[in-house]
Protein backbone atom coordinates (compact mmCIF):
# COMPACT_ATOMS: atom_id res chain seq x y z
CA UNK A 1 0.00 0.00 0.00
CA UNK A 2 2.86 2.30 0.82
CA UNK A 3 4.15 2.17 -2.75
CA UNK A 4 0.97 3.42 -4.42
CA UNK A 5 1.19 6.88 -2.94
CA UNK A 6 3.93 9.13 -4.40
CA UNK A 7 6.08 10.25 -1.54
CA UNK A 8 7.73 13.62 -1.40
CA UNK A 9 11.49 13.51 -1.00
CA UNK A 10 12.55 14.31 2.51
CA UNK A 11 15.53 16.65 2.44
CA UNK A 12 15.94 17.25 6.14
CA UNK A 13 17.13 13.84 7.29
CA UNK A 14 19.64 13.73 10.07
CA UNK A 15 22.79 12.41 8.54
CA UNK A 16 24.23 11.24 11.82
CA UNK A 17 21.95 8.25 11.93
CA UNK A 18 23.18 6.52 8.81
CA UNK A 19 26.44 5.45 7.25
CA UNK A 20 26.96 3.26 4.20
CA UNK A 21 28.51 -0.15 4.72
CA UNK A 22 31.32 0.76 2.33
CA UNK A 23 32.16 3.86 4.37
CA UNK A 24 31.99 1.93 7.62
CA UNK A 25 34.26 -0.83 6.38
CA UNK A 26 36.61 1.67 4.78
CA UNK A 27 37.10 3.43 8.10
CA UNK A 28 37.74 0.13 9.86
CA UNK A 29 40.12 -1.28 7.28
CA UNK A 30 42.09 1.95 6.83
CA UNK A 31 42.46 1.96 10.60
CA UNK A 32 43.89 -1.55 10.66
CA UNK A 33 46.24 -0.78 7.76
CA UNK A 34 47.32 2.41 9.48
CA UNK A 35 48.33 0.51 12.61
CA UNK A 36 50.66 -1.60 10.46
CA UNK A 37 51.95 1.27 8.33
CA UNK A 38 52.44 3.59 11.29
CA UNK A 39 54.39 0.95 13.19
CA UNK A 40 56.67 0.41 10.20
CA UNK A 41 57.01 4.17 9.68
CA UNK A 42 57.99 4.85 13.30
CA UNK A 43 60.54 2.07 13.36
CA UNK A 44 62.11 2.99 10.04
CA UNK A 45 61.93 6.76 9.96
CA UNK A 46 62.56 7.55 13.56
CA UNK A 47 64.80 4.80 14.87
CA UNK A 48 66.76 3.42 11.98
CA UNK A 49 67.47 6.64 10.12
CA UNK A 50 68.33 8.92 13.02
CA UNK A 51 72.04 9.71 13.28
CA UNK A 52 73.35 8.33 16.56
CA UNK A 53 75.55 11.30 17.44
CA UNK A 54 73.34 14.34 17.05
CA UNK A 55 69.96 12.62 17.05
CA UNK A 56 69.16 14.57 13.91
CA UNK A 57 67.51 13.30 10.76
CA UNK A 58 69.25 14.59 7.67
CA UNK A 59 67.61 15.09 4.32
CA UNK A 60 70.23 12.92 2.64
CA UNK A 61 69.35 9.88 4.72
CA UNK A 62 65.67 10.36 4.00
CA UNK A 63 66.45 10.64 0.30
CA UNK A 64 68.51 7.44 0.30
CA UNK A 65 65.76 5.58 2.17
CA UNK A 66 63.17 6.78 -0.35
CA UNK A 67 65.06 5.30 -3.29
CA UNK A 68 63.62 1.89 -2.52
CA UNK A 69 60.14 1.14 -3.82
CA UNK A 70 58.91 -0.33 -0.55
CA UNK A 71 59.63 2.83 1.37
CA UNK A 72 57.92 4.88 -1.29
CA UNK A 73 54.83 2.71 -0.89
CA UNK A 74 55.10 3.05 2.87
CA UNK A 75 55.26 6.83 2.89
CA UNK A 76 52.73 7.52 0.18
CA UNK A 77 50.36 4.88 1.50
CA UNK A 78 50.64 6.28 4.99
CA UNK A 79 49.83 9.76 3.71
CA UNK A 80 46.75 8.75 1.76
CA UNK A 81 45.38 6.35 4.35
CA UNK A 82 45.95 8.72 7.26
CA UNK A 83 44.29 11.64 5.48
CA UNK A 84 41.29 9.51 4.50
CA UNK A 85 40.85 7.91 7.90
CA UNK A 86 41.43 11.16 9.78
CA UNK A 87 39.10 13.38 7.81
CA UNK A 88 36.44 10.70 7.62
CA UNK A 89 36.64 10.41 11.40
CA UNK A 90 36.37 14.16 11.91
CA UNK A 91 33.37 14.25 9.57
CA UNK A 92 31.72 11.44 11.51
CA UNK A 93 32.24 13.26 14.81
CA UNK A 94 30.78 16.50 13.42
CA UNK A 95 27.80 14.69 11.93
CA UNK A 96 27.11 12.66 15.04
CA UNK A 97 26.81 15.86 17.06
CA UNK A 98 23.40 16.17 15.41
CA UNK A 99 21.34 18.52 13.26
CA UNK A 100 23.41 17.94 10.14
CA UNK A 101 21.05 17.67 7.16
CA UNK A 102 21.81 16.54 3.63
CA UNK A 103 23.03 19.90 2.33
CA UNK A 104 25.47 20.63 5.16
CA UNK A 105 26.69 17.05 5.01
CA UNK A 106 27.58 17.28 1.34
CA UNK A 107 29.23 20.66 1.83
CA UNK A 108 31.39 19.24 4.62
CA UNK A 109 32.12 16.12 2.62
CA UNK A 110 33.27 18.17 -0.36
CA UNK A 111 35.35 20.42 1.88
CA UNK A 112 37.15 17.51 3.47
CA UNK A 113 37.81 15.81 0.15
CA UNK A 114 39.23 19.03 -1.31
CA UNK A 115 41.47 19.58 1.72
CA UNK A 116 42.51 15.94 1.64
CA UNK A 117 43.46 15.98 -2.02
CA UNK A 118 45.27 19.30 -1.62
CA UNK A 119 47.31 17.92 1.27
CA UNK A 120 48.05 14.74 -0.69
CA UNK A 121 49.32 16.87 -3.56
CA UNK A 122 51.47 18.84 -1.14
CA UNK A 123 52.80 15.58 0.23
CA UNK A 124 53.74 14.37 -3.24
CA UNK A 125 55.59 17.64 -3.87
CA UNK A 126 57.55 17.20 -0.64
CA UNK A 127 58.20 13.58 -1.56
CA UNK A 128 59.64 14.51 -4.93
CA UNK A 129 61.75 17.25 -3.37
CA UNK A 130 63.37 14.63 -1.15
CA UNK A 131 64.06 12.37 -4.08
CA UNK A 132 65.99 15.15 -5.81
Amino acid sequence: MQRDIPQATVWSVDRGAEMSIAGWLAQRWTGVLLVVFLLAHLVVAHFVVVSPTTGEISAGEVASRLQSGWFQVLDMGLLGLALYHGFNGVLRVIVSAGHVGNRLYFVLLGLFWIIGIALTYYGVLVFRAFLG
Binding site: G31, V32, L42, G55, I57, A59, F87, L119
Partner: protein, 131 residues
Protein backbone atom coordinates in the same frame (compact mmCIF):
# COMPACT_ATOMS: atom_id res chain seq x y z
CA UNK B 1 20.74 10.01 39.28
CA UNK B 2 18.31 9.71 42.19
CA UNK B 3 20.68 7.88 44.47
CA UNK B 4 23.48 10.39 44.85
CA UNK B 5 24.27 10.42 48.56
CA UNK B 6 24.82 13.92 49.85
CA UNK B 7 25.79 13.02 53.39
CA UNK B 8 28.24 10.21 52.61
CA UNK B 9 31.36 10.14 54.69
CA UNK B 10 33.47 8.94 51.79
CA UNK B 11 35.54 11.44 49.87
CA UNK B 12 34.38 12.64 46.47
CA UNK B 13 37.43 11.06 44.89
CA UNK B 14 36.61 7.65 46.36
CA UNK B 15 32.97 7.92 45.36
CA UNK B 16 33.93 8.86 41.78
CA UNK B 17 36.11 5.80 41.39
CA UNK B 18 33.53 3.51 42.95
CA UNK B 19 30.90 4.77 40.55
CA UNK B 20 33.14 4.50 37.51
CA UNK B 21 34.39 1.03 38.27
CA UNK B 22 30.91 -0.24 39.05
CA UNK B 23 29.49 1.29 35.84
CA UNK B 24 26.67 3.03 37.70
CA UNK B 25 27.61 6.28 35.99
CA UNK B 26 30.11 6.52 33.17
CA UNK B 27 32.08 3.33 32.87
CA UNK B 28 35.65 2.88 31.77
CA UNK B 29 34.41 2.26 28.24
CA UNK B 30 32.91 5.75 28.02
CA UNK B 31 36.15 7.39 29.02
CA UNK B 32 38.06 5.27 26.53
CA UNK B 33 35.56 6.32 23.85
CA UNK B 34 35.95 10.01 24.66
CA UNK B 35 39.73 9.66 24.64
CA UNK B 36 39.48 7.88 21.31
CA UNK B 37 37.84 10.96 19.81
CA UNK B 38 40.24 13.39 21.46
CA UNK B 39 43.29 11.40 20.32
CA UNK B 40 41.84 11.24 16.82
CA UNK B 41 41.57 15.04 16.63
CA UNK B 42 45.05 15.47 18.06
CA UNK B 43 46.51 13.13 15.48
CA UNK B 44 44.80 14.82 12.55
CA UNK B 45 46.19 18.15 13.72
CA UNK B 46 49.62 16.58 14.17
CA UNK B 47 49.47 15.06 10.70
CA UNK B 48 48.90 18.46 9.10
CA UNK B 49 51.67 20.02 11.20
CA UNK B 50 54.04 17.15 10.34
CA UNK B 51 53.35 17.66 6.63
CA UNK B 52 54.20 21.34 6.86
CA UNK B 53 57.36 20.67 8.87
CA UNK B 54 58.49 18.26 6.16
CA UNK B 55 57.44 20.87 3.61
CA UNK B 56 60.29 23.12 4.69
CA UNK B 57 62.39 21.04 2.30
CA UNK B 58 60.66 22.95 -0.49
CA UNK B 59 62.05 26.27 0.71
CA UNK B 60 65.51 27.36 -0.33
CA UNK B 61 68.10 27.85 2.35
CA UNK B 62 68.55 25.60 5.32
CA UNK B 63 64.97 25.63 6.65
CA UNK B 64 64.69 21.82 6.75
CA UNK B 65 68.03 21.36 8.50
CA UNK B 66 67.19 24.23 10.85
CA UNK B 67 63.97 22.68 12.00
CA UNK B 68 65.53 19.21 12.21
CA UNK B 69 68.24 20.52 14.51
CA UNK B 70 65.58 22.20 16.66
CA UNK B 71 63.71 18.91 16.87
CA UNK B 72 66.86 17.01 17.82
CA UNK B 73 66.62 18.75 21.20
CA UNK B 74 66.23 16.07 23.93
CA UNK B 75 63.20 17.88 25.38
CA UNK B 76 61.27 16.98 22.24
CA UNK B 77 61.34 13.36 23.41
CA UNK B 78 58.63 14.16 25.97
CA UNK B 79 56.34 15.32 23.19
CA UNK B 80 57.20 12.23 21.16
CA UNK B 81 56.34 9.93 24.04
CA UNK B 82 53.01 11.69 24.61
CA UNK B 83 52.26 11.40 20.90
CA UNK B 84 53.04 7.71 20.89
CA UNK B 85 50.74 7.16 23.88
CA UNK B 86 48.02 9.02 21.96
CA UNK B 87 48.57 6.84 18.91
CA UNK B 88 48.66 3.62 20.91
CA UNK B 89 45.39 4.36 22.71
CA UNK B 90 43.63 5.30 19.48
CA UNK B 91 44.95 2.27 17.62
CA UNK B 92 44.25 -0.29 20.33
CA UNK B 93 40.75 1.03 20.97
CA UNK B 94 40.18 1.12 17.22
CA UNK B 95 41.04 -2.56 16.98
CA UNK B 96 38.70 -3.20 19.90
CA UNK B 97 35.89 -1.37 18.05
CA UNK B 98 36.53 -3.42 14.92
CA UNK B 99 36.45 -6.61 16.99
CA UNK B 100 33.18 -5.50 18.60
CA UNK B 101 31.73 -4.96 15.12
CA UNK B 102 32.78 -8.41 13.98
CA UNK B 103 31.90 -10.26 17.20
CA UNK B 104 29.03 -8.37 18.86
CA UNK B 105 28.85 -10.81 21.74
CA UNK B 106 32.19 -9.57 23.06
CA UNK B 107 32.00 -7.96 26.48
CA UNK B 108 32.32 -4.19 26.22
CA UNK B 109 33.54 -3.59 29.76
CA UNK B 110 36.22 -6.23 29.85
CA UNK B 111 37.56 -5.25 26.45
CA UNK B 112 37.68 -1.60 27.56
CA UNK B 113 39.79 -2.55 30.54
CA UNK B 114 41.97 -4.63 28.24
CA UNK B 115 42.49 -1.58 26.03
CA UNK B 116 43.65 0.52 28.98
CA UNK B 117 45.97 -2.23 30.17
CA UNK B 118 47.52 -2.84 26.77
CA UNK B 119 47.93 0.89 26.17
CA UNK B 120 49.69 1.46 29.47
CA UNK B 121 51.99 -1.54 29.01
CA UNK B 122 52.92 -0.76 25.41
CA UNK B 123 53.27 2.91 26.24
CA UNK B 124 55.71 2.26 29.05
CA UNK B 125 57.72 -0.14 26.89
CA UNK B 126 58.00 2.38 24.06
CA UNK B 127 58.72 5.28 26.41
CA UNK B 128 61.58 3.39 28.03
CA UNK B 129 62.88 2.47 24.59
CA UNK B 130 62.86 6.05 23.35
CA UNK B 131 64.29 7.70 26.42
Amino acid sequence: MSTIPTQSSKSTYLRFWERTLSDRRMGVGSYVWSLHRVTGFVMVAYLVAHLFVLGTILQSGGSFDNIMSVLANPGVKVGEIILIWVAILHGVNGIRLFALDLAPSMNHRISAYAVVAVTVVLGIVVAVFIW
